[in-house]
Amino acid sequence: MQSETAAHPPSRLAGHFASLPVQDNAARLGMWLFLSTEVLLFAGLFVCYASYRFLYPETWAAGSRLLSLPLGTINTVVLIGSSFTVALAVDFAKQGKNRLVFFMLLLTLAAAATFLVIKGFEYSHKFHAGELPGVHFHMKETEGLLPGMPLFFSVYFAATGLHALHVIIGAGVLTWMALKAWRNHFSVGNYVAMENAGLYWHLVDLVWIFLYPLLYLI
């Protein structure tokens, strides 16, 4: 898939596919299958969350109050905004407007960076307060200590850590797409790579949409 072939869609057809629509459909279906594995990967963490919330409801309520709600909310807005810009980037790629794709991806990457920086602040605060998973858990005040509290932070760090990893990977993919847009790669009929990258980023957003209320609010 070189950029110079973009103007002639038939030439990016791989030899083993019947036609370009079939090839693009295969790419889409493949991406959705991959997304389903991501959903089920996070599902395991949501099961851990549900289990321990079920066993320790008071601890979970107390634990969510130990997290920084303003930072979490800002991050939610940032991610939703980035999802919006990515959706627009896909839309512009469909129309072959590479400049706008590039600009939208730049905004998205800025949002991703903001998200990670804020997350970093949150983490460093947790490290100082000793609100850490498992054996590393040692809170200074005694008032917040409830049974199962180390578990809350195990789930918190596992879930947000895995999510942050996905943000980093997604940002990497989007950077690659931005480079493609910079080289005028996308054109009418040749945008499935951007579409799939967009799907991945939306999934990252989707996971956070569930993590935010579950961890920070209730």
Partner: protein, 143 residues
């Protein structure tokens, strides 16, 4: 592949060749606003001390937001049946997994549940509360 999809795709490509591509900008903007509204809503209700309802409301809002993202940003609304079936099965599996596991905790022999939890009658041990982080890990270790 389904001949129907094939036709739809070919039509789309023919459209694309003539430069007839519809912009989704307006839809995306509306969805974006709705998502921000949902965030504001979940923020306010989350702070209102609604007890058990807080979880229900938060989940309903999260599901609504998630559906909006999936349906419009990710175009699941116009996707093939296979894709939607796939996502449906994923949700089913998550529900079954959570259902079985919580059902297990809720109905098992109570002393088999974690000490200090709501579903156990035994008091929490000190480490469960996280009071003595320096407890040697080697207690359960084999030589």
């Amino acid at each position: 592949m389904d001949p129907k999809d094939y036709k739809k795709n070919v039509a789309e490509y023919a459209d694309a060749a003539h430069g007839v591509v519809h912009s989704h900008f307006r839809t995306y903007l509306i969805v974006f606003m709705a998502l921000l509204l949902g965030t504001a809503l979940t923020y306010t209700t989350g702070r209102m001390h609604l007890g058990n309802w807080a979880l229900v409301i938060a989940l309903v809002i999260a599901f609504t937001k998630g559906t909006l993202v999936a349906m419009y940003f990710m175009h699941l609304a116009e996707a093939k049946g296979t894709t939607r079936l796939l996502m449906g099965i994923c949700l089913l599996f998550i529900a079954v997994l959570i259902g079985y596991v919580l059902g297990d905790f809720g109905t098992r022999f109570r002393p088999a549940n974690s000490q200090g939890s709501k579903w156990s009658d035994l008091p929490a041990s000190s480490t469960t509360r996280g009071e003595s982080p320096d407890m040697p890990r080697e207690l359960g270790t084999t030589p």
